[in-house]
Symmetry: C2
Subunit: 252 residues, 2 copies
Amino acid sequence: MKRSLAKTTMNPLKPSAQPLYQQVKEHLVHRVLTGEWLPGHILPSETRLAAEYELSQGTVRKAIEEMASEGLVTRRAGKGTFVTSHNGDYQPFRFHRLYSDSGEKVASDRVTLLHTRVTAADKRICAALDLAPGAEGSEIFRLRRLHDRPALVETIFLPASLCPEAATLLEQRNPGSVYLFLEQQYNLLITRVLEQVRARLPSATEASYLEIDQNTPVLEVERTAFSLGGIAVEWRIIVGVTESMHYRNEVS
Amino acid sequence: MKRSLAKTTMNPLKPSAQPLYQQVKEHLVHRVLTGEWLPGHILPSETRLAAEYELSQGTVRKAIEEMASEGLVTRRAGKGTFVTSHNGDYQPFRFHRLYSDSGEKVASDRVTLLHTRVTAADKRICAALDLAPGAEGSEIFRLRRLHDRPALVETIFLPASLCPEAATLLEQRNPGSVYLFLEQQYNLLITRVLEQVRARLPSATEASYLEIDQNTPVLEVERTAFSLGGIAVEWRIIVGVTESMHYRNEVS
DNA sequence: CAGTGGTCTAGACCACATC
DNA sequence: ATGTGGTCTAGACCACTGA
């Protein structure tokens, strides 16, 4: 009964071949994307949403459960459903795949900001971030240490169209996590990264920063990071010494 | 009512703090592991399982849905629920993360078996596969080509305790997919792999097989593969030319 | 205490497979 | 025609949270 009601009343769900819970999920994702509920904030309860969409609680629940399994929202029994945030209880370094051979994550302690600049994106970056040729952006160079030895150098590019003034702001604050900065400053939540790993020899400057011989192979990780909604936000090159460090990955 | 019934009757579920659907899931996983239903075979319907466990269909459904989301079983509307198999509709190369820079997967066409031998596992392998020191096994060396150029050399170790006669059988058949072979020959379904990626210089023999200079950096992927139940089954080293090839990974 | 998500039940109708 | 999984409903009780 309710089913036909839901299809004929003035709620935002259109009649379609898609299951209702999928339509609800898409609509809720859209509402999160457009900032109706900001990261860290609470969503209406299942009961309220069910009333709003004129569906049963179980149908709304299935929509929210899928969003939770994708990490978009976090559910806490007795409290409510929250938009996930790199701030809150969500792990900030979940995208880092570099580990020392003894098993520790190469984390953000001992990160040094080398310098920043505003520059035009080269062809490679334009292709990765889907930018118009010659688009401008901020470039940040950083150095990370592990056990008091230089471990990796990072080059980060953020397009000016999405992240204005990023270079200056980052220089002022030097945050440990760029993704936390992106969320707080521009309301951009990184949910997915694509990485391409290669072996090569370091450039002269890379070798000097990493304090290695220029004939020592290094690991190059080229990363493109995407925000909610699938927009490419950040491009990054990580060059790492691979003597006592590796890139770790689990596939299931 | 049924709830207390389920806890007091002679079904395999023990009273515990765990949700019933979790207990059902664990028991079903155990039944798959012990070979009650083999890869490719059909499970009893939700209705039957619900009757067997004296629970509602919805509870059993939730258990099966979790198994399906983990890839252990595959559900087909109108037909039934099947134990997933590398044979069936399941993708055989889902663990391969090496791509040519033009985007194609470095697949199993053009795979050459170089040689095989029976040998004792070295310390590194024993640690990875959790074997007793000096345990024996089969070692297989293979070469893959891409665009008529040597692309990567593989060293594969399979412990004799789990995979007896693997060297001779592989030499006879030279299958494209080792994991399909493991499933068909030993009923071992690989569900998870752990990979560690490093950059290094090739050995003299690797360089000659790959037809590269010994000063050209190569990508080394060290992989441990686990079967259903979490037993480490295979250890593998993949050494790849990284000129026109990369290791690709997506994290979300 | 009332409200939240977490679990569980028992029904319903549907599209699809098989015979 | 029958049986399967896929969707949807409308209730129930629980444990946890916070005022």
